[in-house]
Symmetry: C2
Subunit: 161 residues, 2 copies
């Protein structure tokens, strides 16, 4: 079973920006998000994917991803539940790993989250000086939750992890 | 936008059986079925598909279908909401069209439904003598509904369309 093991962190400052190797603007929405499974459509440039994740909002969960035609993906986005997520993903290589830093736009503007995908939960990983607090266990930072409760609606307390 | 235009009928008798050209055993389940969109996983032999339909239980609706690896499809079936649908689909050619006759097993055993996919809603189609009442507009005959309310639970009134 393909499994995603992903850790999420806030950023301490902007010192990561000069390290970005490439970036990609992404629009995504959820066809289903209520039950045990979320079904996501993502468009990034001229590529698009269907993504299915199961098992709740935790670091390690089954994940399935399939490339689909971008024109069909745009039609599927129009069927999504609630507003779409619009973000720029910045990629920073770190040895065999890659930091993916999501800078959100629109209703989630101001939110920046670093993600790191690991092969297993015990795997060691670098902690660059710009890396902030880990938020892997805080559900409000998951994209599927940002659709319902966008960053612009967060209280001061919610913005302090 | 790919669009499915599909009519559903009951069968008057078994006179269609000698006309079957091929058949395929199918197992399918729904990753999502509550909202505007249903997301279906189907395994038939060594092939499998993800299918997304929108727009309610009507004859004509947007439909998107993507082939996926059968081993992943079997894992996705384990994540489905509610019980799986198990059926044998019988194919009967009819000129440019194909009758697909679904004979259900398990909790839906006893139910047989003929389906015909058309290019547009005005298209003429044959009415062979074994074709029974049209049930396109009766939601209980849709597979997504059979998961929640299987044929074995139908009242006598529900079994008379």
């Amino acid at each position: 079973m393909p499994r995603e093991i992903e850790k999420k962190f806030l950023l301490k400052n902007d010192a990561w920006r000069p390290l970005v190797e490439r970036r990609s603007r992404m629009t995504q929405g959820y066809l289903a998000s209520g039950g045990r499974v979320s079904v996501r459509v993502r468009v990034a440039g001229d590529e698009a994917w269907l993504n299915i994740k199961a098992g709740g909002l935790v670091a390690s969960r089954p994940e399935y991803e399939y490339a689909i035609p971008v024109d069909e993906a745009r039609e599927l986005l129009a069927l999504a539940e609630g507003p779409l997520i619009d973000k720029t993903r910045h990629f920073i290589p770190a040895g065999d790993l890659t930091w993916e830093i999501d800078e959100f736009h629109g209703d989630n503007s101001g939110l920046v989250v670093a993600e790191l995908e690991l092969d297993n939960e015990q795997q060691a990983f670098p902690r660059p000086p710009w890396l902030g607090t880990e938020v892997t266990e805080l559900h409000r930072y998951y994209n599927v939750r940002l659709v319902q409760h966008p960053y612009k609606e967060w209280t001061e307390a919610e913005r302090r992890p």
